[in-house]
Symmetry: C2
């Protein structure tokens, strides 16, 4: 069952492998396997040889399911970790790979998983290992039309989830219950899954990763809601901040400033723009207003199979095993507004998912950007 799209991806992958001097890839990250083969799941691997052969190893229970989903036919089932190790050895042998270098995903594999995959019973000791993270990240950066349609569908579901969440915002409701409203609405609107839901309120809007707690919302609280549905395997990223009741003037002023910085950055998106230029735009407006010390995290990142993926700003890319991104080609999809403005007693953040178009941005998430919730 070979689909042209997957054959083309395999060809690209093989071409990158040759450039990088890799004789094989041994992938275990579900999003990378999904992109390359049509199926990605936990406790599984895909081995790709430089002459374009593909083998999948999956739990024995899953062979039939993977056969229906994956676009390559060489699928092996294993019973446990020992079986997995032996099946990897079998594929090295079967593909005739006895030396050279195999690429592993250093940004996904834990140290102990590295130990399993490079165990002498799995990988011949004569084969060296090397990080291959950047290959799949670069391949996934520019989206084809079907991928953009899937992200567009996820963005619509994200808007629906945001509407439900904001409608749930009122005094005495918990952060967790606001998250419940968003997640329930997203699943009923067509999401098969979602990435982490963030809901943070009051002083918790000032933290970097506001996972929901049982804190109850108070009148005058800001509430930051950041959601990421998965629809047909693709995600979208939207964040809104709203107030429980009427915002204070200083809250409104911070929000207006942040929204201005975010929208000015989105306005600069078009094919050929650099990530650094976009990062400087949002940081620059906030810094000029005296808030250079009130930001945290990458303001811009890619969106696709994962809600945060390549391209990353160069500083973060380095620590995540990526190369600094090139000037953005058309059809890269990026979320803008992730850094937030953390004033101290509270913070604000507004984030939207955008396609890099030839002449400008197309913003896919569209839920209204207003601090007053009703």
């Amino acid at each position: 069952m070979k689909d042209n799209r997957y054959m083309k991806r395999l060809e690209q992958c093989v071409s990158h492998m040759k450039e990088t001097g890799l004789n094989a890839l041994l992938l275990t990250k579900p999003s990378n396997m999904f992109y390359l083969t049509g199926d990605g799941r936990l406790c599984a691997y895909a081995m790709i040889s430089q002459d374009g052969k593909v083998a999948l190893g999956v739990p024995s229970t899953d062979v039939e399911d993977v056969t229906a989903l994956a676009h390559f036919d060489h699928i092996t089932g294993f019973e446990d970790e020992v079986g997995m190790i032996h099946s990897i050895a079998h594929h090295f042998e079967h593909f005739g790979i006895h030396d050279g270098t195999v690429g592993l995903e250093y940004t996904f594999l834990t140290q102990s998983m590295m130990g399993m995959l490079t165990h002498p019973h799995a990988k011949p000791e004569s084969i060296a290992v090397k990080d291959c993270t950047h290959i799949l990240s670069e391949m996934r950066m520019v989206k084809d039309p079907e991928e953009i349609e899937r992200i567009r569908a996820a963005a619509k579901v994200a808007d629906t989830g945001m509407k439900a969440a904001i409608e749930a915002v009122k005094a005495d409701v918990t952060e967790s219950q606001v998250a419940a409203a968003a997640e329930y609405a997203m699943r009923h609107a067509g999401a098969e899954e979602f990435w982490r839901t963030y809901v943070a309120s009051g002083p918790r809007t000032n933290i970097a990763h506001g996972l929901p707690t049982n804190r109850t919302l108070q009148p005058g609280d800001l509430v930051m809601i950041d959601i990421h549905p998965v629809v047909n395997g693709y995600s979208a990223d939207i964040c809104r901040t709203v107030c429980v009741g009427k915002p204070a003037p200083e809250q409104q002023a911070a929000y207006d400033l942040y929204l201005e910085a975010q929208q000015a950055t989105i306005a600069r998106i078009k094919a050929g723009v650099g990530m650094v230029e976009l990062e400087h735009t949002i940081h620059g407006i906030l810094s000029e207003a005296g808030h250079g010390d009130h930001l945290f995290g990458p303001p811009i990142h890619g969106v696709g199979i994962e809600f945060e993926e390549s391209p990353l700003p160069p500083g973060h890319a380095f620590f995540h095993g990526e190369k600094a991104p090139p000037p953005l080609p058309a059809n890269v999809v990026i979320a803008v507004g992730n850094c937030g403005l953390y004033i101290g007693p509270w913070g604000v953040r507004v984030e939207d998912t955008n396609v890099v178009g030839v002449d400008g941005p197309e913003t896919l998430t569209s839920y209204p950007r207003t601090l007053e919730s009703a």
Copy 2:
């Protein structure tokens, strides 16, 4: 702000460090940090010295929040990855650690995170590194009374979630919508979060990790629901399999057999029992009935801050950086029934969370175990 419980845990930790020959621990796994300090979050670390000093490094935005939650006072904020690396170097210097060995969590750290934490600007090159996974896993294995109360509360929420999920099961509903019902009910019953929700139906009940999809339930389908709320930082694990309408005789027979094996295994739980004995009980009954090849994954695992944690059966423990568990002391909490019985066209699984008592088991999850859903 030093709580006796946390001082005791720190003393135990230091004692393990001395036994293992570790001069410091550098922890980044949120569950381990939560257990040891009272706060665990992403993008943060805890450094523990052999003389019992504790330092936390967190995003600069989060310092105030962590100060309110953690039971140790030495908290440093950083702005980005470079700042994190420099703050680690500062703590090595401040604690006077210039050589010896530092313990890292090899089962949690990705290869690229290992690179960050052992970067020459973070860790003095004269300090060696070694896996410390087993220290925190062993410490967390036996639960104190407050921990058991929290798991008990999570088990009640899990029962509530299962009731809502099973009430949502009917033809033409999607797996994702069944998951929505469970998650919404768990959050409204008091869960601040949940670990992965599994909902698999029809032929998908035959796979090892049945994350929900948009498949619509059909009359006669089996539906496998596996949920894990988090309440006050602690989890519980429950799985039920139900039929859409009336089950076929062979479905009922497989279910009855699996339930018999699961219940017989739970009946053997008491202080001093071995994990291998429990594993042999459930595997033995299923194998004698001719299903030795129809199982997958560890049938039994610990439950606590994580829904799957130590103790793991010895075979799995090895690959997860753990030692083989000792005979189980009282107040270990284990889930029984995780292996499932995968017949081919469909599978069944029933799983419950249990406290190891001095004289026998206490089963915390109690939702009725019946294949017919109504």
